[in-house]
């Protein structure tokens, strides 16, 4: 999985590309979120547009990242989950747990609200 980050206003967007699966993708996700938190940023938008696949370890890591961000009094939201990832989030009812948006503009606006 490949990761890049960019800043829009006070929000750090983490663009994820590839598979979030056990042993690699999940660890890369963890490191990316921890790096952003380590830089003192706590308003995080995970862009899942490029994520093609996720297993239970990847789902667990999403939850784990969210909890770490909240512990730091931060906010983590999701944007652009593709078909397969959206299906998994809905199936596990995590679409009710995470604040999820279909467009980046909408997601960024929600941080300002």
């Amino acid at each position: 999985m490949k990761v890049s980050t960019r800043k829009v206003g006070s929000v750090t967007i983490i663009d994820l590309n590839g598979k979030i699966t056990i042993g690699k993708g999940d660890l890369i996700l963890r490191e990316a979120v921890d790096k952003v938190l380590g830089e003192g940023q706590s308003r995080i938008l995970l862009n899942l547009n490029g994520v093609s696949y996720m297993d239970s370890a990847g789902i667990g890591e999403l939850v784990s990242c969210f909890k770490r961000v909240v512990e730091r009094k931060g906010t983590m939201k999701l944007v652009n989950p593709g078909g397969r990832v959206q299906d998994l989030l809905a199936l596990t009812k995590l679409d009710e747990y995470f604040e999820t948006y279909q467009s980046e503009g909408e997601a960024l606006a929600s941080f300002a609200a």
Partner: protein, 148 residues
């Protein structure tokens, strides 16, 4: 008349090797004529079962093998995943969708397995390990096996 397909893989208990099993599953699903969705579903269920066998069955001791066997006949695809340990606790079937479980960082593997195959069976073989069997029915149009 179609000859049933039989493929066996033996893996060290290293979770990255689940990718190898997943790739084999994809190829065998193509041979079976399963559609893209079925291929993804079985691949995910098998990945979860393989990782569970490595983690909970073999306690991630690399030298302990997990054996994965694919049996494809004209009616269904069966995949058996065998570990050498006690296996995972398949009787402890917690629903990860319950509100109190949503923030759990693990415990969704068995749920995904059950969701993405037509049938799943567990067998504990005392002293020999645990076998999880996943079953996927072939659609009628796919029952003549394709040659790769």
């Amino acid at each position: 008349m179609t000859i049933p397909l039989h493929v066996e893989m033996t893996l060290n208990s290293r979770v990255d090797l689940a990718n190898l099993v997943h790739a084999a599953s994809d190829e065998i699903c193509r041979i079976a004529g399963l559609d893209e969705d079925s291929m993804l579903n079985l691949g995910l269920a098998l990945r979860e079962a393989t990782v569970n066998a490595m983690k909970h069955g073999n306690k991630l001791q690399e030298s302990r093998p997990v054996k994965v066997t694919f049996h494809l006949n004209g009616r269904r695809l069966e995949v058996d995943i065998m570990d050498e340990g006690e296996g995972f606790d398949f009787e402890r079937d917690v629903d990860p969708r319950l509100p109190e479980n949503l923030d759990k960082t693990s415990g969704r593997g068995l749920f995904l397995m059950r969701t993405f195959v037509d049938d799943i069976r567990f067998a504990r073989n005392p002293g020999k390990g645990t076998t999880v069997s996943l079953y996927k029915k072939l659609p009628r149009r796919a029952r003549g096996l394709k040659r790769a």
